[in-house]
């Protein structure tokens, strides 16, 4: 009986695989930088330091949200596709097709928002996209079709990942249930592969919820006289949105499981606890979205309580398994803090800190006073900006085998300062009851809410500029330091 995990880099180091990964990551890193600039512009507008106008602000807000969610989830998918390529043979041509469709969708969204000023917000709650006279009809259709293109791109990628891994390990083995039988598994399932499977499976369900929603949106656009249930569509939209946002992070976790052991020189294998933890995560992630609807009292009350319980419980497998796993990988391992393990470690730290704020916000009693205040962008920017993004950059640095360690590491510390300063402004805003998604706070002429909001927005912009300088420095390190030797093994 073999327990060999059997990484096979003969496929993942093929030029075609590298080319398609460069296409994906090049696009994602470009989108990411542009979206940061949009974010800085928004914070400057909110502080009334810069004036782009109200329609442009909300168009930028919509594009920033869609762009960041789309880019990070796509980065996550690209990473788990690459991990898949280390163990199995996903279809490179399909991945190229997926990139093309994604790029087309991204261009469509840019046109709808920047040209058409489509500004319904990234989760575009029904019926706002159709009820607003201020953006043209064509921009609504282009936005919906573009979002459907993103969904097609993700679905193709996720289905092919599962197909490839099922071909390699057998479909019945992919969730790791063989670890619960008395007999030792005949072949070890790498922990990263289990997480890849969980991400792809949950991602398919989430993407299908989005597909159903956008088909209805498309129908509404074509037949404006039709009407649909607002609460039902709010549920399907948040099921889609919450799942893909969470999964982006879990895709990053898969990358940490896959690559961190090569730096710590310690094995990381599956056991029953890990299998159970990630299988329950699959359930929790699909039910935790109810916490987005706590202030929709018409939602069945049982689902509200389920939202808090599932949100709380989801913290246990994630921290008890992954955080302890990372800790035990790193502690006393003789690890050299080169860029990638440092970025991974800091990324996990950011994920946990953002997770704490998320659990706090998922408490119904607290959500009453935090919902749609700046506490919400505070927590998700924490686990994205100083969490997932660091893992994504750690992967990119490793992928190009960059030898510009000093520049990359210096840039990372600039991003740590800029990122944590940036999210701190959001947290303080949330604690001060400053609403989110406001072009400016001038109308809030009571208490000190307008002044607080404007000052924190300016502070946020300054820190975001520091983060941007860090990311530019990191991109330069990638360009200058890349080597022809893939450091993938």
């Amino acid at each position: 009986m073999s327990t060999d995990v059997r990484v096979d880099d003969s496929h993942s180091t093929e030029p075609a695989v590298r080319t398609v990964m460069v296409l994906w990551f090049g696009t994602i890193l470009a989108v990411f930088a542009v979206m940061i600039i949009f974010g800085i512009t928004m914070r400057l507008e909110q502080s009334q330091t810069l004036e782009v106008g109200i329609p442009m602000f909300y168009a930028l807000m919509t594009m920033h949200g869609l762009g960041m969610v789309g880019a990070t989830f796509s980065a996550g998918l690209a990473m788990i596709w690459f991990i898949t390529a280390r163990y199995a043979k996903p279809n490179v041509a399909l991945m190229r097709f997926s990139w093309g469709v994604f790029t087309l969708g991204a261009l469509g969204l840019l046109a709808a928002t920047l040209v058409g000023r489509f500004g319904a917000g990234w989760y575009a709650l029904y019926p706002l996209p159709f009820q607003n006279p201020t953006w043209p009809q064509w921009s609504i259709g282009v936005a919906i079709i573009s979002l459907m293109l993103l969904g097609v791109s993700w679905l193709v990628c996720q289905l092919d990942i599962l197909r490839a891994l099922a071909g390699r390990y057998g479909a019945s083995k992919l969730l790791g249930w063989q670890y619960f039988s008395a007999a030792k598994p005949t072949e070890e399932l790498p922990p990263s592969v289990l997480i890849v499977v969980i991400c792809a499976a949950a991602g398919i369900l989430g993407t299908l919820a989005g597909a159903a929603t956008f088909v209805i949106y498309l129908f509404k656009w074509l037949a404006p006289q039709t009407n649909f249930d607002v609460l039902l569509l709010k549920n399907t939209m948040f099921l889609f949105g919450h799942v893909i946002v969470n999964l982006a992070m879990y895709c990053g976790i898969a990358a940490v499981y896959e690559f961190l052991p090569s730096y710590t020189k310690r094995s990381w294998s599956l056991n029953r606890v890990t299998v159970l933890a990630w299988n329950t995560t699959l359930i929790f992630i699909l039910g935790a979205y109810f916490h987005h609807l706590y202030v929709d009292f018409a939602q069945p009350t049982a689902l509200q309580y389920a939202g808090q319980i599932l949100s709380y419980l989801s913290a246990i497998p994630a921290t008890a398994v992954t955080v302890f796993g990372v800790g035990s990988q790193v502690f006393g391992s003789g690890l050299r803090w080169t860029f990638t393990p440092l970025a991974f470690f800091l990324g996990i730290l950011g994920w946990v800190i953002g997770g704490i704020a998320a659990v706090v916000d998922s408490t119904i009693a607290i959500n009453q006073i935090f919902h749609n205040t700046l506490w919400v962008p505070a927590h998700f920017h924490t686990y994205f900006l100083v969490g997932f993004v660091f893992i994504m950059l750690g992967f990119a640095h490793r992928f190009v085998a960059s030898n510009a360690e000093r520049l990359a590491t210096g840039s990372l510390w600039a991003m740590v300062v800029g990122g944590y300063g940036f999210v701190l402004m959001f947290y303080l805003g949330g604690l001060s009851s400053v609403p989110r998604r406001y072009a400016n706070y001038g109308a809030l002429s009571f208490g000190s809410i307008a002044e607080t909001g404007a000052h924190l927005a300016l502070g946020g912009a300054v820190f975001a500029v520091i983060f941007l300088l860090g990311i530019i420095g990191f991109y330069v390190s990638l360009a200058k330091g890349r080597t022809t030797t893939p450091a993938l093994k």
Partner: protein, 178 residues
């Protein structure tokens, strides 16, 4: 409540950062059996975390807006209709809105029946010092019932807390409580 949430977040974050610093500081040296030492405390950590979360669930779940203040009939029922980009607020049954400004009672239960005439809005109730007190979504086709007791007389503010289009940030009105 906001300050409790803030302190809990800060406290938990500091603990996590300290643990991370400890692990990072002990990464360079090779410590035989390092993983085993950490794994040994995992079950205690998971148990403590589970216990903490169960206590937090037990303490917080009874305090939800779905069960609050239901034992007594409200002193006043108020209809709230959000529409792009204004609030129509009047005593229940008084569809005209009435020429005189609505005055809500202090220290008594007021029930807001919140709905929308067009898109999703957020009925956010602020005191005059800028503190968010309570909120409910305003949805077309649904009525959300929010009960609240105003502890102090004075001026209160209704702020839209769900993005609803280009004038969202100025969709405000005032309430008087005496």
């Amino acid at each position: 409540m906001a300050s409790i949430a803030g302190w809990v977040t800060l406290g938990a974050t500091l603990i996590v950062v300290l643990v991370a610093l400890f692990v990072a500081a002990n990464a360079r040296e090779t410590i035989p059996g390092g993983p085993a030492a950490i794994y040994g405390v995992r079950k205690y950590y998971a148990g403590a975390l589970l216990l903490g979360l169960l206590v937090a669930l037990g303490a917080s779940l009874p305090h939800t807006p779905y069960s609050a203040l239901l034992e007594t009939e409200p002193s006043m029922r108020v209809d709230v209709i959000g529409r792009m980009w204004s609030w129509e607020i009047h005593q229940a049954g008084d569809a005209s809105g009435g020429p005189s400004p609505l005055v809500l009672p202090v220290g008594k239960i007021v029930e807001f029946a919140v709905t929308s005439a067009d898109v999703n809005h957020g009925f956010g109730l602020y005191d005059d010092g800028g503190h968010l007190l309570a909120q409910a979504q305003a949805m077309p086709g649904y009525v959300n019932h929010l009960r609240h007791v105003f502890d102090l007389p004075g001026r209160y503010h209704v702020v839209c807390l769900e993005y609803c289009g280009l004038v969202h940030h100025a969709m405000l009105t005032e309430l008087a409580v005496q």
